[in-house]
């Protein structure tokens, strides 16, 4: 049984271009210019989906973005997407479409049994049951409920499509290219302004495309031709304005015709915005108004005039307003027998006359009592005085029009109810926003064109002297008349009278929500799920709100609407993410030595955004094996490690010393030139912000280093202090993190290594003592050697500008090759410092005070520094605070683990313990696992036995509290 046919009529399809596509596995044909929906209708397909809850058979309702039913999983070339709206999907060759939410098939859906249980499944039924018999019984029901829900299926395979993103600017953005939008765009373009015209359809013209009028078609083409000639105009078809964000950021979602990307998201900053978004027709609510074949009246007209698809023989139109007569007349003129069920009792003469002329029977004061037929409607029964049954192929319904006010209210302006047109119109327009046409409730075509022109002139007041638009030669607009009918269902049939088609919300559900006290529009929505489908209630919300207002005895203006939220229509997550995904998700920060590491057997590890050399394959193929060899190399001989990631800051100016003296807890005012000092800085709250070594290059210049992780924070903090608070200090800070590369040369043989590398330079202990700093030129490049040690061995850091770091690194490796120097990675670097008891990232966690880290004594007593006041808050000084200790493992074969919780030997192993392990390593010197930890009372407990509990692995390991300085407590190696 087919309800529709393709007729021989001039329209917007191109019959010379046949397009083959697949629907539920069967090859089908359509034409260029078709939507998926129009092609399916032309092929007589009306049963196209199953509803969400009751799995009722459903067909196409609309002809645009509002469609709640006809959603498919579609794809081309193997790549598919769920929930495509068939009424807006342009028909493309090779497209496959599959119906959803039906099992085993559309025609025979077993889940349709839910319909029988519908008395049970009223609004919010699941809040009332599935609670027993046990406390967690929901866990039993949930999987079944979940399986039944959902529309299409998500596809776990990788998305092969590319999505692009761009940032654009314009003077005027016109949203919508119907008569108002075209008029606005042409007017704006004539000023020479930068204009963007965005149209969600794949054709410009909006309602003109459905009009069937040759004169309007001529006018449309003229306007588009003019726009195409204007160099500052960007014409964007297949482009949905999804949302308007603060300061006129409009997010456009554009599907280009031919591009490397499937979709382009455009973040458009528009100086002014003209909204010409039109209106959406409302269904009427009566029994079985969801049967396939029941459609919006305007959709029937669109299928007829735009796609040459007409009902086979007979159509019934039910309406409460004048607009549906355009459909009735056009259908009748194309040999469809039309009957009109008119809710109103009186009708204006011109409509009656034309109807009579076309042989259309009009039944006044009546609506639809019921629809006959399940998978395809066959007849309607009229209600009221003319309770007759009329056989027909389709039923076109019109409950009036709702302006598409969505975008006007994204900024927070609530729509207001206009009694004259029985619809919500924009509550106003934000500064720099304008509206034109149906979105403002102006339903006449010529009026819309005039409003478009006015809006453009208002948006661009600086250009007054532009030519007026030519109007199409058509009759003056008819006055729009409507008598609101929100609920036309008979009481007994309310459970079959659908308000929200996709989510199966009926009049009965709304009545139920009202009885149970879910009165506010938001409660109604959330309790019944009304308007929460993929269509976001474009066809259902107003009817439902009005019914609720009626039940509550409120005027529509008092009831209000739910909040309109972006996106206007569903948009893929990938399209918003754009190109910044997968490997491109976040930039990788690379040391100047990165390529060398790559070429020399390094394995990398992410450290924040940095990629760091973790270990080298010369030492082993797993981090566990490699770091021990690398540690041994440093402890016994000499190794070289990349420390370029350290934050480095140039601090210069006459007040530089004073500045550092304020920022660090310890004194820097008297640091001699050529010397480095370890410093710690606190936040205002007295919690440790960062640590590092800062050296004095000359009287007014310091070279600060920070931890890798905190470099950015510290830089901004210093700038904040200097620019906003201590403006009297003459100091400038500049980040040198990218300018300078650095390497640590560590181990008892490090001096020999550097002597081999720089034989001309005196780096004896006398010339460059511990914490000494020396600058020299090597082969024309400035080199800075700092005698610092993170490992606890005799060690140096060698810094030079990043362009030459690799060459310098290679030079040192070559020169010291006879010693057996080799690179070591981050894991060994971190392990060596644990042995030495240097705190680092894992121990510094934004919760530690100076005293927690055992550094309390560093702070100058008589000296002011940031954080001094709040550092001495009561609990920050409590004796039982967790502070830094060393731990050594006392069990052979057992392992200490980071994140283990510490207990005294006699404690019950539960609760929060007395501390935890912050970092762990195998000590090559001590031949056991050692760790740094924070422990209640800290070093007071030195020597005590403790338990390291790791219940996640069911381990309790015995250990002992020791000094965190596991090696060389006197620092002899450092000073060697």
């Amino acid at each position: 049984m087919t309800a529709f046919k393709r007729i021989d009529k001039q329209s917007h399809i191109d019959r010379t271009k046949l397009i083959s596509f697949q629907f539920d596995g069967k090859m089908t044909n359509g034409f260029a210019g078709d939507t998926l929906a129009s092609a399916l209708l032309a092929n007589g397909k009306t049963l196209l989906g199953r509803s969400f809850k009751y799995h009722r058979p459903r067909g196409i309702i609309g002809a645009g973005i509002e469609e709640p039913n006809a959603l498919f999983t579609t794809g081309i070339g193997g790549r598919t997407e769920p929930n495509t709206i068939s009424t807006t999907a342009e028909l493309k060759s090779g497209i496959t479409a599959k119906s959803q939410n039906a099992w085993p098939s559309l025609n025979f859906d077993l889940m349709a049994v839910n319909q029988l249980l519908s008395p049970l499944f009223g609004a919010g039924f699941y809040y009332k049951t599935f609670m027993g018999p046990f406390k967690k019984s929901w866990m039993m029901y949930e999987p079944i409920i979940r399986k039944a829900a959902g529309l299409g299926a998500a596809l776990p395979d990788l998305d092969t499509a590319r999505y692009d993103m761009r940032y654009m600017f314009c003077d005027v953005l016109v949203i919508g290219s119907g008569p108002a939008g075209l008029a606005a765009a042409v007017t704006a373009a004539r000023t020479g302004a930068r204009v963007v015209l965005a149209e969600q359809d794949f054709e410009f013209g909006g309602s003109i495309l459905s009009s069937g009028s040759e004169e309007l078609e001529r006018w449309r083409k003229t306007q588009i031709a003019e726009l195409e000639k204007s160099s500052e105009v960007r014409l964007l078809k297949r482009t949905t304005a999804q949302g308007i964000y603060d300061d006129n950021l409009v997010v456009l979602n554009h599907t280009p015709e031919s591009h490397s990307a499937l979709m382009i998201t455009e973040q458009l900053r528009a100086r002014t915005i003209i909204m010409a978004t039109g209106a959406i027709e409302r269904p009427l609510v009566f029994a079985n108004n969801d049967r396939p074949g029941v459609m919006l009246a305007s959709a029937l007209r669109t299928y007829l005039n735009r796609f040459s698809v007409a009902p086979k023989k007979r159509a019934v139109i039910v309406t409460n307003n004048d607009s549906a007569y355009a459909t009735a007349f056009d259908l009748a003129e194309h040999d469809v027998a039309v009957t009109v069920a008119e809710h109103r009792s009186a009708l204006s003469g011109d409509l009656l006359a034309k109807a009579a002329q076309l042989g259309i029977a009009i039944f006044p004061s009546c609506g639809i009592s019921d629809v006959v037929g399940e998978k395809q409607m066959r007849a309607v029964r009229l209600s009221g005085r003319h309770a007759v049954t009329i056989e027909c192929d389709v039923l076109g319904m019109s409950g009036g029009w709702s302006p598409a006010v969505h975008l006007t209210s994204h900024g927070g302006i609530k729509p207001k109810f206009d009694e004259k047109i029985a619809a919500f119109i924009p509550g106003g327009f934000a500064k720099s926003h304008f509206g034109a046409g149906a979105v403002k409730g102006t339903f006449g075509l010529l009026a819309a064109i005039r409003e478009g022109e006015v809006a453009a002139r208002a948006a661009l007041p600086e250009c007054k002297k532009i030519k007026e638009l030519d109007l199409p030669a058509i009759r003056e607009d008819r006055k729009y008349s409507i008598q609101p009918i929100w609920n036309a269902a008979e009481k007994a049939n309310e459970k079959y009278a659908f308000v929200d088609f996709q989510n199966d919300v009926t009049v009965k559900d709304i009545r139920g929500a009202h009885q149970e006290g879910y009165l506010s529009v938001e409660h109604l929505k959330r309790y019944t799920t009304l308007g929460m489908g993929t269509d976001q209630g474009k066809t259902s919300n107003i009817n439902a709100l009005a019914m609720m207002a009626d039940l509550r005895g409120l005027a529509m203006s008092q009831a209000g609407t739910t909040t309109f939220r972006p996106p206007y229509s569903p948009i893929t997550v990938g399209a918003i993410a754009g190109r910044t995904v997968a490997a491109h998700f976040r930039p990788k920060r690379l040391s100047p030595l990165h390529d060398w590491h790559v070429n020399n057997g390094a394995t990398f590890i992410e450290a924040g955004l940095w990629m760091r050399a973790w270990y080298y394959n010369w030492a082993g193929n797993t981090p566990e094996a490699a770091y021990i060899k690398e540690m041994e190399l440093v402890r016994q001989n000499v190794g070289i490690a990349d420390v370029s990631t350290l934050g480095k800051i140039d601090v210069q100016g006459p007040d530089a010393a004073e500045f550092l003296n304020r920022v660090y807890v310890n004194g820097f005012a008297k640091l001699p030139v050529g010397r480095a000092r370890y410093g710690v800085m606190l936040n205002d709250d007295g919690v440790v912000l960062d640590d590092g070594t800062t050296s004095r290059i000359n009287d007014t210049q310091f070279y600060m280093t920070t931890t890798t992780a905190q470099a950015g924070e510290v830089m901004s903090w210093l700038e904040y202090l200097l620019q906003m608070h201590w403006t009297d200090l003459d100091v400038h800070v500049t980040s040198l993190t990218d300018q300078w590369g650095g390497m640590a040369v560590s181990g008892p043989n490090s001096r020999r290594a550097l002597q081999l590398a720089f034989p001309e330079i005196d780096i004896t202990n006398e010339a460059l003592p511990y914490l000494g700093v020396m600058d020299f030129k090597f082969e024309g490049v400035g080199v800075r050697v700092l005698r610092l040690s993170f490992s606890g061995e005799l060690a140096y850091e060698v810094h030079c500008s990043a362009d030459y770091t690799t060459a310098l690194w290679e030079h040192i490796l070559n020169a010291a090759a006879p010693l057996g120097i080799k690179p070591y990675g981050l894991e060994a670097l971190a392990s060596l410092r644990i042995e030495k008891g240097h705190v680092a990232g894992a121990d510094l966690d934004h919760r530690n005070t100076l005293d927690d880290l055992g550094l309390g004594k560093m702070a100058g007593k008589d000296k002011a520094y940031i954080g001094k006041e709040l550092r001495f808050r009561e609990d920050c000084q409590a004796p039982e605070r967790w502070s830094l200790v060393g731990i050594e493992c006392m069990e052979d074969g057992a392992k200490l683990r980071g994140g283990a919780i510490l207990f005294a030997a006699t404690d019950e192993i539960k609760g929060h313990g007395r501390g935890y392990i912050t970092s762990v390593t195998w000590s090559t010197e001590l031949n056991k696992y050692i760790a740094l930890a924070l422990y209640n009372g800290g070093m007071k407990h030195e020597g005590k036995e403790i338990i390291c509990a790791f219940p996640l692995k069911n381990e309790n390991v015995k250990a002992r509290i020791v000094s965190p300085h596991f090696i060389d407590k006197q620092g002899e190696r450092l000073h060697a």
Binding site: Y167, M168, H584, R586, L736, Q739, A802, Y804
Partner: protein
Amino acid sequence: MLKRISALASAVSFNGNDLSISESPDFALTQYAGAEKELKKALGKIPARVGVILEHDGRIQLRTNPAQIWLIGEPIEAEACISTPLSSSRTRIALQGKNTRVVLAKLCAIDFHPKQFKADMFVQTAIHHTPALIHCFGADDFHIYAMRTFALSVWEAVTDAALEFSA
């Protein structure tokens, strides 16, 4: 002299339809900092405010901050203000051809319309979550000064954005 190695040593130039992207190495960049008076004393004529470029003596000055000027070209000995060599800290990427503006518009929220962003203008903005300075030095000729440590990621972001113009 030690061998200079660029952050983009492994990158291959992009030559596409009306678009070429390549590294533009070997430039000297020095930052001068100080109060207006000090900057003037050290550099002579200086750009009047942030965002303005001044070219003289074969050097380009870019005012990057109220108290900072970038000088691209042979460094000037400046006693009157603070100077910091930054040649290694930035990696310069050159974009040329009719399609440069299309590509740049995909990378940052800056208006690249030819009437808005003309030759001898620059902006400091963000590309791929990193700070970048974009300098227009001809009708469709641009330099991006990217942070050296992020240069490869920025390069990948730029060439990825340019994919549609692949030859």
